[in-house]
């Protein structure tokens, strides 16, 4: 029922709408890097040296917070003209990336943000990253890290630098050497051996000790396992994009773990870094954990009762003698679009990539830095870790780095892909669906999402 007053109000509101239409619609900033898709670019972004003291904000969820603050304090002390304000945020995969996207939208993004490698394309997709290749601090960054990480940080744009690598996270197998010894099980070098070990363990312990924890929270691990098997679920093809999440390699992985679940050797109540998982680590109800190197810190902090019982071995292979691996995670320090201090950001990002893992080692176990200087330094890599009974876990991970398939690519909408995959895996793990079906459904949803964002999408 139109009323005088109401109608006038609605018309008044409608009059504002043309105003909104004329403000730019395309993402937070129409930066030069937005045209990057048209041609590979040289250093289009200016990087003026700052004048005077500069304050920059840094969002991270790296922990523990006290260690990070200590590291940042050291940077601030040694760089008197740059002051970094560090903010502990929700981990990206727990909602932190959504916050960053919203912040970009609102024009209130930080200068420097911690973004995992797989998520960088999504940020570039929304024009959320600043190409800092023109900054002096970035001149030697490319040489400092393995080649494939550099291409991850240029997000497929030769010569661009959107982020500086921090750590590198290849997969390996953590295992309870005491349990393996007790039941005379060989440490598996192949997945076939892994499965027979699991079944033997089930018989020997009457099912009380499971081979691994896995549930819907392990969606990144599963993609990493696909990576190891040689799958390429995400491919940039010409001006379009292809999803291939149900390739034969992916099916092999999916069916393998599906059969392990059916065999009853997987604890599906415990998933990626949740309290139920820590309990299984602590009290010996799980015999292995496939995971990346940052888990070493988690073991030390969350499973103190099992100190000395865990060891690290290379990840099992599909064929004996193979050397193939994938990654699960790993982050970079990215420079965000809209930043007013790219020069200082670059200096900090570069410094942080070099210094962070060394410092963190002192506080929280170990993380494998991506820097070549670190990777090729035996004194650092071969440091014994008392939690792992004197073994040097990083040396195992170091060899795994060489095995990682280097041409893996990530989709420009990984936030949606992973969110959908996690949702769909819930059905797989509660028995109403399968892991393979979860990947197929995810592929269809991801393709529909990317198409609606204007990209030409193919599915295999």
């Amino acid at each position: 029922m139109p009323l005088g007053k109401t109608r006038r109000r609605l018309i008044g509101a409608a009059a504002l709408i043309p105003l909104l239409v004329t403000t730019p619609v395309n993402g937070p900033l129409q930066s030069a890097s937005a045209q990057a898709g048209l041609r590979p670019q040289a250093n289009l972004n200016p990087c003026p040296k700052q004048t005077g003291k500069v304050n920059i904000t840094f969002w991270t969820w790296e922990g523990p917070p006290s260690a990070i603050q200590h590291i940042v304090n050291e940077f601030n002390a040694t760089h008197p003209d740059i002051h970094v304000n560090v903010d502990q945020v929700t981990p990206g995969f727990s909602g932190g990336y959504e916050k960053s996207f919203n912040a970009l939208r609102a024009g209130k993004a930080p200068d420097v943000d911690m973004i995992e490698y797989y998520e960088l394309p999504n940020f570039r997709f929304v024009n959320g990253l600043y190409n800092a290749a023109g900054c002096p601090a970035m001149k030697n960054v490319a040489k400092q890290f393995p080649g494939y990480i550099n291409s991850e940080d240029s997000v497929g744009e030769p010569g661009a630098i959107y982020a500086v690598p921090e750590d590198i996270e290849p997969l390996a197998m953590f295992y309870r050497k005491d349990i393996f010894a007790k039941y005379n099980l060989p440490v598996p070098a192949t997945w076939a051996q892994y499965q027979s070990d699991a079944l033997a363990l089930k018989t020997d312990t009457n099912g009380t000790v499971k081979m691994a924890d896995m549930n819907a929270n392990d969606y990144r691990l599963l993609v990493g396992l696909d990576w190891q098997a040689g799958a390429m679920p995400f491919q940039y093809t010409g001006t379009g994009f292809t999803y291939d999440m149900d390739s034969s390699a992916a099916q092999t992985v999916a069916n393998y773990w599906e059969s392990l679940i059916k065999d009853g050797v997987i604890d599906t109540a415990a998933g990626f870094t949740t309290p139920p998982e820590y309990i299984t680590w602590n009290n010996g109800t799980v015999a292995t954990q496939i995971g990346p190197d940052y888990l070493t810190g988690f073991f030390k902090g969350q499973a103190p009762a099992a100190a000395g019982d865990w060891a690290v071995a290379p990840i099992p292979q599909w064929a004996a003698g193979d050397h193939s691996d994938g990654e699960a995670g790993g982050s970079a320090t990215a420079i965000m679009a809209g930043t007013k201090h790219p020069y200082a950001d670059a200096v900090f990002a570069d410094w942080f990539g070099d210094n962070y893992p060394v410092q963190v080692q002192l506080y929280a176990g170990q993380v494998l830095s991506g820097a070549n200087s670190y990777l090729n330094n035996p004194a650092v890599i071969d440091t014994a870790n008392p939690y792992f009974g004197g073994q040097a876990p990083m040396s195992v991970f170091r060899t795994m780095v060489n095995d990682v398939n280097t041409n893996f690519q990530w989709a420009p909408n990984m936030t949606t892909v992973f969110s959908d995959l996690q949702d769909n895996l819930q059905s797989a793990f509660n028995g109403s669906s399968t892991i393979e079906q979860a990947f197929v459904t995810t592929q269809n949803q991801a393709a529909a999402n990317l198409r609606s964002l204007g990209v030409t999408v193919y599915t295999k």
Binding site: M1, L3, G4, K5, T6, L20, T23, W61, G63, P64, P65, D87, Q88, V89, T90, P91, S94, G95, G96, K99, N102, A103, R105, A106, G107, K108, T273, T274, P275, G301
Partner: protein, 312 residues
């Protein structure tokens, strides 16, 4: 159920007790009835069970908030275990530079500011709608009431996009201003004005030459007070509780209300252990302001609740 027995004033409880040996008879209730023994026990049992249901978790919260962090999940929920409440309290005071108390202040700002201004606006509009008849009155009213069922995302998300375009997303205003509008408050205020403000008084004021505004502020507000306080409290609780709007709108931790702050901590517990304890202590502390608000304003809102209810 027991057969109703009308109380006989001639027979005192003492006499009855001596005679039957049964426990003293319960007092008669509002209907003038007295319950039989079995029915009474049954009733009290049911009431007690629900009291345990409603209060039990709060007790568990208190217990959990006093525990050291690494024993929260391994020491049971019903008994204290190595209580260290003051230590935990000092953790929350110091963590993040006292960010929790900043959150409490923010919540108070949003809730008091939003509900205060909102009640004033709704009070004036509701009073006018009740007292003055004009063409389109019901339409205006229904337009707002119809908004009560519009879900939060339908407003919060577009508001965020809108404010982002205008570059005010993430500011205190971006949460405070939208919180002012409360359809339910308009409803309550109109009903309250209808019920509590006699037309004769308003007419008398007019005859005396007072302006409408003067009549409203000096006469009507006083009469509408229970309704106004109820509206204020309802809106206060709603804003204090609000999670979606500030979650979407706010960027910097300094601007968070307690709800978003605790929710953020909850998402960070895998990486930072101490937060488990801080969340519990913070949850406990956040209950206090609302309890105080309700206790202090009890006199008003108890009568305010009868509005919009029975017209016996």
């Amino acid at each position: 159920m027991a057969v109703a027995v009308a109380p006989d004033p001639a027979r005192s409880d003492a006499v009855l007790t001596k005679q039957t040996g049964a426990p003293p008879r319960p007092l008669p209730d509002r209907t003038g009835q007295v319950a039989g023994h079995v029915a009474s026990t049954f009733k009290v049992t049911v009431l007690m069970v629900f009291a345990v249901y409603f209060l039990g978790p709060v007790y568990c919260l208190v217990i959990a908030a006093t525990k050291p962090t690494n024993s929260i999940y391994i020491s049971g929920a019903l008994l204290p275990y190595k209580p260290q409440f003051w230590t935990n309290l000092s953790y929350i005071v110091n963590y993040g530079g006292g960010i929790y108390f900043r959150w409490l202040l923010n919540s108070a700002f949003y809730a008091i500011g939003g509900a205060g201004i909102g009640t004033l606006l709704a009070g004036a509009a509701g009073y006018y709608l009740a007292m003055f008849r004009f063409r389109g009155r019901e339409g205006l009213f229904l337009m707002v009431i119809g908004g009560m069922l519009v879900p939060g995302t339908a407003l919060a998300l577009p508001l965020f996009l809108l404010f982002a375009r205008l570059s005010i997303a993430g500011s205190y205003w971006s949460v405070l201003l939208p919180s002012i509008v409360s359809p339910f408050s308009l409803f309550l205020c109109r009903v309250s004005a209808d019920a509590a403000v006699p037309r004769e008084m308003v007419e008398a004021g007019r005859i005396d030459g007072a302006s409408e505004a003067r009549i409203f502020f000096s006469i009507a507000v006083r009469l509408m007070l229970p309704g106004l306080v109820t509206a204020f409290l309802a809106q206060f609780v709603g804003i204090w509780n609000n999670y979606l709007l500030p979650l979407v709108m706010l960027i910097s931790k300094d601007t968070y209300p307690v709800t978003v702050g605790l929710g953020t901590w909850q998402g960070q517990t895998t990486h930072t252990d101490i937060l488990e304890t801080l969340i519990l202590v913070g949850a406990l502390i956040s209950v206090v302001p609302l309890v105080i608000a309700f206790l202090f304003l009890q006199r008003f809102w108890r009568s305010g609740l009868s509005l919009g209810g029975v017209k016996a």
